[in-house]
Symmetry: C2
Subunit: 348 residues, 2 copies
DNA sequence: CTGTTAGCGCCTTCAC
DNA sequence: GTGAAGGCGCTAACAG
């Protein structure tokens, strides 16, 4: 059982003092060491396969070289893609990513958020179930000068008290609604996929308003609330089709792609054809959309831009000398309607 | 900026010594403290919202209450589901999960594996790209008495030197092949989805042997090698269909569900109908399979059983007094062929 | 450049 | 039950 190699061992082997070794290995600027001793130290480290203890370093310095990411559901391709991209983005800047997975439980979310305070990370990126519900917590974090970036949809009336990167659905939704109306659709459904206890958010209302502006009365729009899983979306829509055949929509928008896939499946099992009998539009545009047997139209969120912006905002705040001085910043990315096979003209 | 609450603060508030507070809060058995002082300490901790520093604790004790999980690709639903389940399993036992994502890069995999040695975790679960390639590393870990569980497919000839939880594909594959042969299929393709530099593994050979046993000559089987993404599987199969129409299979087995979905898409774009012109079988049975517009037949791995077994093996090794004494253990779970819409009788 | 010293927060031993 | 002391591995400040 060979013991762990410590900085001291490296220093001894190189014939220098520990602090010299420390300054050299950490490439601190004010090192007066000669090129030659530097080389000796690096070589000693390499020969011994020295790996500094992150724990000790963190305890001493209060820096962790890690950022936290809170997400709702790791099994949702949207979030796993997001985590993947963010990891790549922060890694380039020398940070590890620690994923905190709520599993669509509000209780767990509250817990994890509270844990973040003592969680040993330099900063966090949060995709909360509802930014308004957690506004008090965010305000508290802002006051504590904790580096935080919030991700999410929709531009709130009151500005968010911390840095934020948001998707604006008006553009994507407008284009989707325009397309559907031009194709002659008159009766709509919105599938709102929610975790237990989660509120609707802005999208159903936005959807209604946009349709209203195009002459579709609210009575022609059904808002279906389902759980966050594919199964749940499938079941809910299947039930609706069975119980209210009179209200069968010809076009359906879902809160995310998983829900859209579930609803599309329910339609197929009910004997409908997509898109002939029902047009389906999802949200997020997960990579799978373009490869489904019936490709899924979707309103794309700009993953790469979002994660890059989040990484930039967060790390600049972490590394800036006086992060306190920086006011909350906000970046907004438009969404893009991407039509595919699942959308077609209304029958009739 | 309110300072961090330390153990010392709790002790002071409760009017006890730090070591007393430590023994009480950690519920050490040989505490001679009275119920009353215990209560005082707990209350003080609660009032101050005391959160012990994991870093300090880890530095002192060498225990991290964290286990690492190395996976190939977080954006693949198979791995994200695996991570999700494993996280749940280890959390019950008081451990956090740290996900190390290779992003299907062998270079990154080697890197992360090397990092594991100094990565501050109590043990790790590894889903490697190839257990044979990493056998030397595994042997080294075993010698270093590092708690490790390997996950994967196929039962190796030489036993793996560390604990292992494996999926045995013979059962699932046998049933799938039987089903396809009974449906009259004579010409097959296998889509081998691999990261760059990754070797085929046992499955293509197993597939060939099983078909041979049922009278299908190797000349009737094409093995297509594609990258690990859906896109790549789709492209590869599309090219094959275009370039070799003479060798068009009536049944296709893919190395995983993503590849199956990609191949199915290629078939559809080539004007084929699934399953009338082509039957498709995936592997893993990710939750989405049952909700695709054409539901995907798949050979299921037992996620829950696998992750539970891995957690049990790993944690028992971590917590056993003399883990050194335990010989490498191996658990094997059979796979289950799950037919769905994507499989049907051969034409003709 | 060296060597010493101090301390991050916690756990553990030891005498009392 | 107390109080002091040592140390996990590292960083940082100091005088030399």
């Amino acid at each position: 059982m060979n013991k762990r190699i410590r900085l001291k061992d490296v220093a001894e082997r190189a014939g220098v003092a520990v602090n010299t070794a420390s300054t050299i290995l950490n490439r601190r600027p004010n090192s007066w060491a000669s090129k030659e001793t530097e080389a000796r130290v690096f070589q000693a480290a390499r020969e011994l396969d020295y790996r500094p203890s992150k724990t000790a370093r963190a305890l001493r310095s209060g820096r962790y070289h890690t950022i936290g990411l809170l997400i709702q559901d790791l099994t949702n391709p949207f979030f796993s893609t997001l985590a993947d991209e963010l990891e790549a983005a922060v890694e380039e800047r020398g940070y590890d990513l620690l994923v905190e997975n709520c599993r669509s439980s509000l209780v767990r979310e509250k817990h994890l958020l509270a844990d973040l305070e003592d969680l040993e990370v330099d900063g966090s990126v949060l995709w909360l179930s509802d930014n308004e519900v957690f506004r008090p917590d965010l305000t508290e974090m802002a006051n504590a000068k904790r580096p935080v970036v919030v991700l999410g949809n929709g531009i709130p009336d009151k500005p968010i008290p911390v840095d934020a990167v948001l998707s604006d659905f008006t553009q994507g939704l407008t284009d989707a609604v325009d397309a559907l109306c031009q194709l002659g659709h008159k009766r709509f459904a919105f599938v709102s996929a929610l975790a237990e206890g989660q509120a609707d958010g802005q999208r159903p209302r936005l959807f209604q308003e946009m349709l209203a502006a195009r002459g579709i009365p609210a009575s022609n729009i059904d808002i279906l609330r389902t759980g966050h899983t594919v199964e749940s979306a499938c079941e809910t829509f299947a039930n609706f089709l069975k119980k209210r055949p009179d209200k069968r929509p010809t076009a359906l928008l879902a809160m995310n792609d998983l829900a859209a896939i579930g609803a599309m499946r329910a339609a197929i099992e009910a004997g409908l054809t997509v898109p002939a009998d029902l047009s389906v539009v999802g949200v997020d545009d997960v990579p799978l959309c373009s490869f489904l047997p019936i490709t899924l139209s979707s309103i794309r969120q700009r993953y790469k831009k979002i994660t890059r912006a989040a990484a930039d905002l967060l790390i600049s705040r972490i590394e800036s000398a006086d992060a306190a001085a920086l006011p909350p910043r906000q970046e907004i990315f438009a969404t893009v309607y991407t039509p595919r096979e699942s959308v077609g003209p209304a029958k009739g």
